[in-house]
Symmetry: C2
Subunit: 542 residues, 2 copies
């Protein structure tokens, strides 16, 4: 099947955890006052809970007998206190858009779903700090800021219409700010379908790739560790840990909130957040460049950083092998923006700027282009003249994933961090390995494509290996070889999606035994019975 490529590790249900019985559900109903809040407790028996039990990729399915939808921190607290006292395992769920199986139960964990905790609490235009409940949908936060304050939320990703602030923080989501127009353009496609129907549509994987890929942007607005100013977290025993903050600066004791950022629901349930937001830029521009080599792409990046400095908002690259897919399989949507054919040049780059003065930004871009031509770093290039061209170029870049999907072939996808100097070596090493192990003409004959694209801005490579089918002969060539390469070059096997269930047993590729042991200690301290998101992130159960 299509999902085999993700691999998995064997897990058995932990018998220490109690199966939920009528006494438990009666207590849940009373805590959530379900008589007056009919949608606050949902049962597998009486309702179809498959939307809650199935992850976005439809790869992982759980069997939660009950879904709990608290409306307030105090309810989350009471639920956890009860579950902890009674050894009931809990799966924490935000928008359920996570890509590593963290947001659905593995067995019969009860789901605590945050979607009813969706109030925006305050925005302080002066400090730029937004305070909201964890269940606020990312797009709603962003819309609220844009429409009322011409501010933007410091994060943006393809799943913005469904994912939640709390989920983003729990996964330390790395999708970065992107231009308004484009988001709205594509997002409108998906938002025309009812939320949980999106992935039931035959088009879902197309949307998935399309949306998923438009989010990675150059590190301009920093990461969530720099932007989250405060959190409220309910611990496993029901204690409410208030780390909320109105302040940008506060140096009084250890900064505990960071432990919860990226902890994937295994250390506590995030119920509120304070997030530092930015003034909205008003001008967007886009450059598309053809280059003779990856080495030149790195040089262009440095020059761009010098000339465009403060206005850069994305630096992307793709090899010509990548562009084959959108141009072949999405040719009614995607076109090649330069004279000639995409095969004329080996490498391409996109450089996006966003700023507060369009004339200035265009002048800086022109200056950059001149320098690039003079220094013979690029072979060809174009600058988007209007929003139509702007979108069209992004559509090409963002069509790589969907194009591969449309090819109806199998695709092994790896989202990794690598030092930039070695980044493309790994793609080339991979080609060599494929030819050595699977026949030296497999690539030439077009049986296998090894394509590399990604984010030069933050060293995040998408290595995609497109094969005729999913088969262990391919998988064995690629895994764990690719993880070993990441380890060898001191990259990361998970740049942004986390470990969750999918890579829950792979932490040793990136972290030392001592570090993992410390993590275990923290888990033990905060969730001694291990009720929070068990079976995920291997440190989560000793």
């Amino acid at each position: 099947s299509w999902f085999r490529r993700f691999g998995s590790w064997k897990i058995e249900r932990d018998s220490r955890f109690k199966k939920v019985d009528d006494k438990d559900t009666a207590r849940f109903e009373s805590i959530l006052d379900s008589r007056n809040n009919p949608s606050s407790v949902l049962y597998q028996k009486t309702e179809n809970l498959s939307a809650y039990n199935t992850d976005w990729l439809r790869k992982y399915k759980g069997e939660a007998p009950v879904v709990l939808k608290p409306k307030q921190t105090q309810e989350v607290s009471a639920l956890l206190e009860y579950c902890n006292a009674n050894n009931i395992a809990v799966c924490v769920q935000g928008g359920n858009t996570g890509l590593v199986g963290g947001s659905v139960p593995v067995f019969d964990e009860v789901i605590i779903n945050l979607s009813r905790m969706n109030n925006i609490l305050s925005f302080d235009e002066q400090s730029g700090i937004l305070q909201c409940e964890a269940g606020v949908i990312l797009e709603n936060a962003d819309k609220y800021l844009r429409e009322k304050y011409t501010f933007i939320y410091p994060l943006d990703l393809g799943a913005k219409g469904s994912c939640q602030i709390g989920g983003n923080i729990s996964t330390n989501a790395g999708g970065l700010r992107l231009l308004r127009y484009f988001v709205y353009f594509f997002h409108s496609l998906v938002s025309s379908l009812p939320p949980f129907l999106v992935f039931l549509s035959p088009l879902w994987f197309f949307f998935f790739f399309f949306l998923k890929s438009i989010n990675h942007k150059y590190k301009r607005y920093g990461n969530l560790h720099g932007n989250v100013m405060g959190l409220e977290v309910v611990l496993a025993n029901g204690n409410v840990l208030n780390l909320q903050s109105n302040n940008i600066k506060d140096n009084t004791g250890y900064d505990l909130k960071h432990l919860f950022i990226g902890s994937e629901g295994t250390l506590g349930v995030i119920t509120k957040a304070s997030v530092l937001c930015m003034k909205e830029p008003t001008s967007y521009n886009l450059l598309f460049l053809a280059l003779p080599s990856f080495a030149n792409a790195l040089k262009v990046k440095l020059l761009a950083k010098r000339v465009l400095n403060e206005i850069i908002s994305a630096i992307e690259f793709a090899d010509f092998q990548s562009l084959k897919f959108p141009l072949t399989y999405l040719h009614n949507r995607c076109s090649f923006p330069l004279e000639g054919k995409y095969t004329d040049y080996p490498f391409y780059m996109l450089i996006e700027t966003s700023g507060s003065n369009d004339t200035h930004d265009k002048e800086k871009l022109t200056q950059l282009i001149e320098t690039l031509f003079n220094e013979k770093l690029i072979s060809a290039g174009t600058i988007a003249q209007d929003m139509g061209q702007f979108r069209s170029i992004w559509t090409l870049r963002e069509g790589i994933g969907p194009g591969i999907g449309e090819s109806k072939r199998a695709c092994y996808k790896y989202d990794v961090s690598l030092p930039l100097y070695q980044m493309y070596d790994v793609v080339e090493n991979c080609r060599v390995r494929v030819e050595e192990m699977l026949g030296h003409d497999t690539i030439k004959r077009g049986e296998i494509d090894v394509v590399g694209y990604g984010h030069l801005g933050d060293g995040n490579l998408h290595l995609n290996v497109v094969t005729p089918t999913f088969a262990s002969k391919y998988e064995n060539v690629l895994e764990p070889w690719i993880y070993d390469q990441c380890s060898y070059y001191r990259g990361s096997i998970s740049a942004e999606h986390g470990l969750g269930r999918m890579k829950g047993n792979m932490i040793h590729y990136n972290k030392s035994a001592l570090a993992v042991n410390l993590m275990k200690n923290f888990k033990q301290l905060l969730d001694p019975k291990g009720i929070l998101n068990p079976y995920k992130l291997k440190v989560s159960y000793p």
Copy 2:
């Protein structure tokens, strides 16, 4: 004396800690191979260790019998392993520029001083990540980046010539990037004195204020939690925790490094760091504005954020009461940049920009000024025409502290975070309180001055109360009243310097019992015997 204003809490030596004897020092000598490294072990008996035992403010004095200067992580590890096994308390020391007494022993703790671990290990121009040992002096890191790569280090502060990367991270230092020219201008004053002589000079307190105050800048480059990509930390038991990283993105497990950022040497000794650095800007501009009210300053800030957006690098304010001091006591150095007198207007603002194109930046500034005049938000204003004027205006703003120093009166200084809407209320409340408690004409008669200035960019207020002398009648009026105000408005009693010894018992103003208890647990886990920086940060000993 001049230092009384800092207050202090009573501490007794913990008798569990062993007094260092000859056996111990023999072991230290062997670990550090002191025969071949003559300056690696220094004794109170044979050398004058007062520079190591006295803090920058000369407020706190310790009695370390021995100073240990390791050159390598493995040496730090061996030292700590031994100290831990033998209950020897340790004071971790970087550049010894901390302002809350954290960097010097309280009693006879041995000092582990990082200054010999001063190697820059690597810089990756592509990712922007600098890897270095913790003892590298901030200014050296910055110079290295500028000269070799036209990059800058993401932090800058007045103490840059002495403070260390490791010390900055341990205190989560908040001084932000500032313009090149200015730093070099003032810094050269101080660097003309040998390091430890600076504070022995009768001018030291002048330098202190002057240098100290030029560092607070608008939050443009984010905070250290966003910029530190990796750390190497030696734990109390000597274990080396390797959290170094080449990657900007890595989501594999809990992000442990953040626990050490801002932990003031109580959880481990930072020995190496990976820090994300920025391309150097090439254009700097400065605006000086006079305003009729603080409310207008807040409006100007919002407009500036819209028009200048990505190029803003500092937004400062000062009331006219503040300017009195540099203009009166440093009049040969400071002048008022507008027509008329400083008393003509109640409030002033400085807006600094830095970018990559001077023409563009000036155009944006002109546009802002026009808008401000049209909307009648400002009463007067000027834009620095050259580097001379640029420096001169900063000299006025940065002369507030030194001016107060020169007045030879006493000054109670508070460095706090407050929500911007309430920020100036606290200054005014303070005036009311002073008049109520000390006589309603004390301020009018010029006996007491209550002045407010600080960083509109990040909500950091400097509230200074200038009194004839240091006396408990003044102190009692101000403390704990000011800390209560911070608590009441949910600000922070320590915006950036930390708690250290000075405010080691004040964490409850900002953090809940549950949070402090968790901190205690983390301390217990990482340093069960409490040997690291005992007596500081109250959570550090249960």
